[in-house]
Amino acid sequence: MEGIMSHENDLNLKATELRLGLPGTDEPTSKNNKRAANELVEDSELLKGKSDAKAGDIETAPASKSQIVGWPPVRSYRKNVVQPKKTEAETGNYVKVSMDGAPYLRKIDLKIYKGYQELLKALENMFKLTIGEYSEREGYKGSEYAPAYEDKDGDLMLVGDVPWDMFISTCKRLRIMRGSEATA
């Protein structure tokens, strides 16, 4: 919107325009103008898309693609029923969590945690236990529990050794180990 506004200086819209930044500050106009052309094109396509498309036709399409009513000519029940294979970004990454001695398993969505700290805290809450501090040298000290996971190869691994992103892509299930088994 800023791009369009800067072309309409003669209407003195600057005084009323909405923009980011503190009042009284001005962004360098040259930078504005350079962006203006691109933004104008994008904006007009967006506007065209909005005026053409009806509510029912706007799918979760990327904003840069304008949608035309009834095009492509696919019936609406086909659009709704056939969800393209959901990307990892949309579905959760649910894994089973077992705890030695517990009667049933739980499931958690690894997607919602940003790192090991959050995950371990959640496990502590879920199973009402303390897991202890991780160290590369000694694993989890200070408690009788150690969080382990089964990776893509089926091996039982200690949680925390690999970077978080690698962990969530290779972790197939979690197991909270207990007692003598847990300590090396």
């Binding site: 009806k54 029912g56 036709d57 799918e59 399409a61 693609k65 949608q67 035309i68 009513v69 009834g70 095009w71 492509p72 000519p73 696919v74 019936r75 609406s76 029940y77 086909r78 659009k79 029923v81 056939v82 969800q83 393209p84 294979k85």
Partner: protein, 585 residues
């Protein structure tokens, strides 16, 4: 003129005439043949419900047993016809309830059906047997309960791809225990779970059941139960084809399919788990019709399954089949007649599957009986179209949708005129054509010159001028339905070919350049046409006469202007000007 045959003999002779064309011809011979024919005609097909009225129908044909009606124009499928446009079946049901107490069959397409209509149907026709609702809307599962409960001899209930307000699955339990006549049941469009035990009992007591299309809510684990109740099934639509992978579920499924020796058609496959596809291998070689258009399986599982079906005649599939899959199809399914490839992700400009013109070319080469094609893809070339046309002169239906509007030949960047021209020139029996991509007036010249058997043509984002439309209207002798959107066609071609429109069922034009003035003129000059202007943004006379109308629907009729139009539809006849000015007072 002396009657040479007694009436009974003529009735008997006419009873061998089933096709409407023949019966219509016979009616024209003389008055007595007209009278005998009309009293003995039992089946009626009305392609446009507004072309005739219930009263006219009943007056001419006093004893009808089967009626088929179509309502909204085809482009309603793509949301181009606004809500509330029309196509109500209720007035028909009311009239027929009085006049045809022995009516057995009602088949509707793109009509608005209310629960009230369904209740009236269920109570008015004592021998009602067949209800087919394709792409209809306006009713709920409560309406279905009336049909289930009251139609003692129901043979067929097919909900097609209708939009049903799904209040609950309880309606199915309304089929009485003594209802054993079902031959065909299609509930695939419903969302709610029906009582499985009620369904199982219904299937078990229907020894003549040949077609069963379940809805998504029926779990895969329970499918074997139904198959054991109905091993005589010819067409099966599965419910969801998803379950946790367990060997006992697989073996139950495989064993149940083993018993289905008559199975020829398969559909359903929502959320398909490829590991369960091999459970059907025992039936694959008998399958002639396969609808995988909801199956999100990918290659190699997908192509492996399809290739097992060596006797396949019809395949509907998603573009996950890709070019490689279509090449395999071309090698293994030599009886293929119809192919439809739907886009898995229609709004993605790039697409993430490798489905190009190559796949279609391969099938056109390998499948000598291929005559019906619906193909969504993202690139096309004139060369490919020419090859397809030369390979398959027996093509009857050819519908190509290149996803990007006005996309040129991706190799030469030229319009696709030559390619589509080759199609109409080589495929002399072509009855239906839908085009896309970059097209100039020239392609319409080819169509007008060659497409003499063409009955239905769909055009979008094509052409340069009125000349394009003129070529089509003046050249296509067999044209019945023409639907156009977003083309620069205006008044001249339309008005110059006004009389042509009386030989067609209908013409649809939206987002074109037809002016309000031209519509008025057409309506005034052609009393046997209904010229309807659809303007949602306001009355068409709010601007100058030269202003283009938003949408135009023209159809021939003997029933006069319709009386059930919503506020955004205006009919152009000699009274239109006074009606419009009154409306603004």
């Amino acid at each position: 003129m002396a009657q040479s045959f007694p009436e009974d003999v003529l009735v008997h002779v006419f009873s061998f005439l089933n096709c409407d064309k023949d019966r219509n011809a016979v009616s024209l011979v003389c008055k007595s043949w007209y009278d005998i024919e009309r009293s003995s005609r039992r089946r009626i097909f009305i392609g446009n419900c507004y072309a005739v009225s219930p009263e006219i129908l009943i007056r001419r044909f006093p004893d009808v047993r089967a009626v088929e009606l179509k309502g909204k124009p085809h482009f309603a499928d793509f949301n181009l016809v606004p809500e509330g446009w029309g196509g109500y079946v209720y007035p028909w049901v009311v009239s027929m309830a009085r006049a045809y107490p022995w009516l057995e069959e009602i088949k509707l397409k793109r009509m608005v059906v209310t629960d009230e209509s369904l209740e009236l149907i269920s109570k008015s026709f004592k021998n009602f047997k067949v209800l087919v609702l394709l792409s209809c809307e306006g009713f709920t599962t409560d309406g279905l309960a009336y049909i289930a409960a009251n139609c003692r001899n129901l043979r067929e209930l097919d909900l097609g791809e209708s939009e049903v307000e799904d209040l609950s699955g309880h309606w199915l339990s309304h089929f009485p225990d003594n209802c054993t006549s079902l031959v065909s049941l299609n509930i695939s469009c419903l969302v709610s779970e029906v009582s499985f035990s009620a369904l199982e009992r219904l299937v078990a007591r229907s020894p003549n059941l040949k077609t069963l299309r379940l809805n998504r809510a029926v779990p895969l684990e329970k499918l074997p139960n139904l198959l054991y109740c109905a091993p005589q099934l010819v067409e099966l639509g599965t419910g969801v084809y998803f379950a946790e992978i367990q060997s006992d579920i697989f073996s139950n499924l495989a064993e149940a399919f083993l018993g289905c020796k008559q199975l020829k058609g398969l559909s359903g496959f929502w959320d398909v788990v490829p590991a369960y596809l091999p459970a059907m291998y025992s039936v694959c070689s008998r399958i002639t019709s396969l609808n995988l258009s909801y199956a999100t399986a990918q290659n190699p599982d997908l192509v492996h399954f399809v290739s097992q079906c060596s006797n396949l005649q019809r395949l509907w599939v998603l573009d996950y089949i890709e070019d490689t899959g279509l090449e395999a199809l071309a090698a293994s399914c030599k009886d293929l007649q119809e192919l439809r490839v739907f886009p898995s992700d229609p709004y993605d400009a790039e697409g993430n599957v490798t489905l190009t013109e190559q796949g279609l070319v391969a099938v056109s080469e390998g499948c000598p009986k291929l005559q019906s094609v619906l193909y969504f893809c993202r690139q096309m070339s004139n060369a490919a179209l020419v090859t397809i046309a030369r390979n398959r002169p027996n093509m009857i239906r050819f519908r190509l949708c290149i996803i990007e509007p006005r996309a040129p030949d991706y190799l030469t960047l030229e319009p696709l005129d030559t390619g589509f021209g080759a199609i109409v020139e080589n495929c002399k029996e072509l009855r239906r054509l839908s085009m896309s991509g970059l097209l100039t007036d020239r392609v319409f010249e080819y169509i007008g010159t060659h497409a003499k058997k063409l009955e239905m043509l769909s055009i979008a984002f094509a052409g340069n001028s009125d000349l394009g439309l003129h070529h089509v209207l003046s050249g296509c002798e067999s044209l019945r339905k023409l639907e156009i959107r977003d083309c620069p066609f205006g008044d001249k071609a339309l008005l110059a070919n006004a009389t042509k429109l009386e030989t067609m069922r209908s013409l649809w034009m939206s987002s074109c350049s037809v002016s309000f003035g031209a519509c008025k003129l057409l309506g005034q000059k052609m009393p046997r046409l209904n010229v309807e202007v659809i303007n949602e943004r306001g009355p068409p006379d709010s601007g100058p006469e030269s202003c283009p109308v938003e949408k135009l629907y023209v159809y021939r009729t003997i029933a006069g202007p319709r009386v059930d139009m919503p506020g955004f539809v205006w009919t152009m006849d000699e009274h239109v000007s006074s009606r419009l000015s009154r409306a603004t007072e």
